[in-house]
Subunit: 229 residues, 2 copies
Amino acid sequence: MDAVVEQIRALIADAGLKVGDNLPTERELCTQFNASRNTVREAMRIVKAYGLVDVRPKVGATITDNRLSRAFELFSFNTMEVSRKTFSDVQAFRDLLEVGSADRLLDRLTDRDIEDLYGINNRLAEISDIQEASEVDYDFHTRLISILGNDAIMDVYKVMKPVVLRIMQKGKTRRSYKTETYSEHAGVIDALAARDRLAFQYRLRSHLMIGFRNFSEEMEAVGLTKASA
Amino acid sequence: MDAVVEQIRALIADAGLKVGDNLPTERELCTQFNASRNTVREAMRIVKAYGLVDVRPKVGATITDNRLSRAFELFSFNTMEVSRKTFSDVQAFRDLLEVGSADRLLDRLTDRDIEDLYGINNRLAEISDIQEASEVDYDFHTRLISILGNDAIMDVYKVMKPVVLRIMQKGKTRRSYKTETYSEHAGVIDALAARDRLAFQYRLRSHLMIGFRNFSEEMEAVGLTKASA
DNA sequence: CACCCTATTTGTTGGACCAGAATCCCTAGT
DNA sequence: ACTAGGGATTCTGGTCCAACAAATAGGGTG
């Protein structure tokens, strides 16, 4: 089996396959490697897990390079012992990612982005569940990051999702997301639409700080220095 | 199938299995998940590829934690060069992390940090191997990041290490790290020591750009202009 | 041009057998 | 009677096979 994995790797290397090219079909690989389809499939799953190929029905295995994504995903399996320091580190990280990338963000910003952001934010008005509201909040920030077009940053943001969601949920227990979170987001988008970098950074940073401050007080009040897995 | 992977992960988490414990046998998991053995096996290969379990004949799947080493293995595969988009995304990410955090960096900077950075950089002078020089280069930037005291950022930087090393190696093939890399680093540290934020940002950004530009030319020379999907 | 149909390919199932490691049990020696 | 050794048994992952389900790309038809 490991031999088949090695053969697939060798095939990719020897054939000089580039991103976008396709591997032979599973059944072809069976005859080529003198192995059963199950064995070839198991090997292919490994190669896929390594982020080297993307396999779709009817189309086969296409060469990709998602290795960095996989590497980050490995950390999402983390035991997730969410300490207070983890929260504060993640929040500082978010500030760096979202506020710090303002220049490039404005460079790449399109009208479509602004529409989408308004659309996502409007979903907040029709929600009555904190859990769901946090998801929307997360979607908003993810969509913001996506403007950068940087897969590495997106992957990292996705990995942090569980922690970010917890921060958001805690932050929303003490205030109304329908008014405060909504208007804060709207202010951020308005600044974007006006291409006002300073306003964007100020409002976004304030938004991040407010949520986290509420969350911090919450933690101290309940005495939660550690959370679940 | 992906569902089975998720079920296995959930099983590990919910049962509170620790390293050294064993999962149920494949056949047991079949009945438990209502899936065929082949499907369970494919899922198990993925979990194994993620470094979460170590599976041996007759003994079953034992919980382990090889995730970090797996993350590095992803890139030690010589089957494929890291894609250009991955490189450029990572480099942009580094710029954001290192240059963008200048404010907080200067806030937390201590004399000890500066000493350490000079010390690391001085190691460059006694090195004749590009591989080793890249390690020192990486150590320098890691030490810089460490000033932030942010574990989340440090973890991300560590995961990117293989890619960053490749960028550095490529960048060093065309110039002398003993003179150029060394003096660029020294300039960055000097700016830090003088608490000159603008100089720090300018020099660090230039340093990052130079390495990447050299690398880009290298790739184009070989004809690798294609990006990932 | 839009719609549908078919052939191809991956996804999943159930079964079978093999090799080897762990375990149990029987035997022989003390 | 007790223990150590060795062999038989059993259990488990590893591989293979044949068939069907589901998805979909690509062609054919109106």
